[in-house]
């Protein structure tokens, strides 16, 4: 019974494993620790931001500012470290604080002015990117020994793959996200607001506090993704992570979360992120696709995943329970 909620997740997982198997048959090299390590490292910032996005979407909202906030934090950190000589750790704290406050402010506007999250976070997206431009339009390298130290922190897996610090951090964020979503009151409030905001209010859910908290969390995680991005590239650049919000939304949705709110799993998002990474890797391994075919194939694969997922869900729902879907 309870598993009906996990159905989309299992479907996604099965599809991922199938897809991976297909890839490996075609390119045996893809079954290597290198590729697995890369999947984690290369998608770390995307995954971390996607955790925040999962909460936002489960609550029935959306956060378009994610990519811009990543860009903004990466620039801010680079400028603080390189121009002002701030220690990276301190810079991280400053950036994370600003990102969190930024998210909370958007949440407050969404709740108190009762305007759609889409618009508020769109304004947030412009604002954050604009602030990054105003700080500097140059790309700024970070050459601090602390970064070098952090880069050295990786676990070399047999076969040459690396489990890097940021890859590990993403996994930790996901685990934390799962705990928060399912084992805290805050998590249940998020689902409640997404299910029906009015009912949630009548049932005594602290809607204002929770809404602000959700966007603050998303802001914080976007900031953290920015930190990870700055570690990933050892630089800050105002144009980085453009359009990442759409990638995170796609990852969240592929993971089985409904954009209408109330339904979804953080763990599903993880699979969604990895699936997106897999699509990218497959295309790189293939290496014959022109620029345009790349886009077409990405679109087709996206469609294939989503259609397969729906098919699996519908089929097993038909087999599993007597529930009749409403028209």
């Amino acid at each position: 019974m309870t598993s009906s909620r996990l159905l989309p997740f299992y479907a996604t997982l099965v599809i991922f494993l199938l897809a991976y198997a297909v890839c490996v048959i075609q390119f045996p090299n893809m079954l290597s620790t290198r590729v697995l390590g890369n999947l984690l490292t290369d998608n770390a910032f995307l995954g971390i931001a996607a955790v925040g996005m999962t909460f936002v979407i489960i609550s029935g909202g959306i956060d378009l500012s994610v990519g811009s906030v990543i860009g903004f934090t990466s620039v801010l950190i680079a400028v603080l470290v390189t121009w002002y000589g701030v220690h990276p750790l301190a810079a991280f704290c400053i950036a994370l604080t600003i990102a969190t406050v930024f998210g909370a402010a958007m949440g407050a506007v969404i709740h108190y002015l009762d305007v759609p999250a889409f618009i508020v976070t769109l304004a947030g997206m412009f604002l954050a990117r604009g602030m990054a431009f105003v700080i500097t339009t140059d790309s700024i390298p970070i050459a601090h020994e602390f970064y070098t130290t952090l880069h050295g922190l990786y676990f070399r897996m047999p076969g040459g793959g690396r489990l890097t610090l940021i890859g590990g951090l993403m996994v930790i964020v996901f685990l934390a996200g799962i705990v928060v979503a399912h084992y805290t009151r805050f998590g249940s409030y998020v689902y409640a607001i997404g299910g029906n905001r009015t009912s949630a209010e009548l049932m005594g859910v602290p809607v204002a506090r929770t809404t602000i908290g959700i966007y603050a969390l998303s802001g914080f995680l976007s900031g953290l993704a920015g930190v990870v991005f700055s570690l990933y590239t050892s630089a800050g650049y105002s144009l980085s992570a453009v359009g990442v919000e759409l990638d995170t939304i796609a990852a969240v949705v592929i993971g089985g979360t409904l954009l209408t709110g109330g339904v979804g799993l953080v763990a599903g998002t993880f699979v969604g992120v990895i699936i997106q990474g897999l699509i990218q890797t497959y295309i790189v391994f293939d290496g014959t696709l022109s620029s345009w075919w790349t886009k077409i194939v990405v679109g087709l694969l996206l469609f294939a995943f989503i259609a397969l997922q729906r098919l699996l869900v519908v089929l097993s729902a038909r087999k599993g329970s007597s529930q009749v879907a409403t028209p």
Binding site: T2, Y183, T184, A192, N196, G204, V324
Partner: protein, 504 residues
Amino acid sequence: MSEPDLLLNATDIRKSFLGLKALDGIDFSVRKGEIHALLGENGAGKSTLIKVLTGVHKADSGAIELNGQAVAVRDPMHAQQLGIGTVYQEVNLLPNLAVAENLYIGRQPRRFGLVDTRTMQKQAKALLAQYDIEIDVGAQLSSFSIAVQQLVAIARAVDMSGSVLILDEPTASLDSHEVELLFGVMRKLRDRGLGIVFITHFLDQVYAVSDRITVLRNGKLVGTRQTSDLTKVDLVSMMLGRTLAAATEHGRRAAPQPSERKISFSDFGRARSVAPFDLTISAGEVVGVAGLLGSGRTETARLLFGIDLPDRGTITVDGKPVRIASPRDAIRLGFGLCPEDRKADGIIGDLSVRENIALALQARRGWLRRMSTREQTELADRFVKALDIRTTDIEKPVKLLSGGNQQKVILARWLATQPRFLILDEPTRGIDVGAHAEIIELINRLCDEGLGLLVISSEIEEIVAYSTRVRVLRDRVHAGELAGAEISTDNIMRAIAAEHGAAR
């Protein structure tokens, strides 16, 4: 100045919505250890009063005292903290959460700071057992019928009420067994010293449990009486402002002349939904459907109306075979269905009363042949008058109407299509006595004109009152039929109870 055992005392409450005086100087109090029935016609202001008392709405003026101290209830959460547990009129739960989470949200038991799901589920099971519900509390609330959801809402409110429990039409769509259980719980709470506010349109229930009665009419206080001092007739005239002529007892309809105009479903069924059954409805006939919660009544209706598709079976209309693959097909044949869950499947909340009434007729005509605004207005005006729908004007969004009036709007939507076969799933849910009588009268008149009717109701008296035949469902099987003189409350009860199923 206040009496010592006064729990909640509201004085001179006023509230208006855009010029409409929904509450006009209401005094209302709840004592320790009493069940206080709050009565009135649809749109009298009962739900609004509850919402003011629990902080959903801010009163324009007036004072509220709790245990002798003035309070300003900020919001429902604050009301809960003050020990007021409430079940609002529409089921206001979270369908996407598990039953247990619905019961305990905001106060989940915790271990090491994390929610302790196992303990929570154990407690939830125990809590629901008091109402004879044994379900998987880990399952999503939406997988259960409206009635179960209503019971969950009640269980939650009861569990949270420290001193005052408010129930706004909790018994609509509950069957008599559940109602008895609920009354048992209410009496127990009363004996523990809680004050209970109880809103209902079933006068029998009022007399069964309540100690005092307050009646509202058009937002004004009519009066508060001891239940024992007030006869039913007086109560009705307090509510309506007039006496109700003969409407309280309605004679059973005689079976109509056998007619060629009939609709037959044969060997109709759907796996895991309803076992195959035969059903024929002639023009002028009223078939009542009785059964326990979850016996498959709503599912039968969905099947007949083409919402769920049958795996097997055939339909003939006036002897000709037809196919129904969607509600549209059904409507084209002259069918109509008032669904059980009016919030989810009935009203189009943001659209106006006028549009809601015209909708089905317009859909049948097709989008090209638009009904002019004047035509819609005439239609709406006609039904607003015919069904006595209380609304300031027909351009008001239907979601702002009181619950009973919304129900009438949906009924009007179907009557406007002049159907030949109408399925009503819990049609009188939340409709007041006056309107109830009027609707039954209307149904009778329509049947005289040749309408065939299938009425699903949990209120057996109601079924007895107007059915020419009664279909009894048990465990998703059409288990029997009563006709003519066999139809009586006792017989129906017996048929329902025979070989009590394993489903519950």
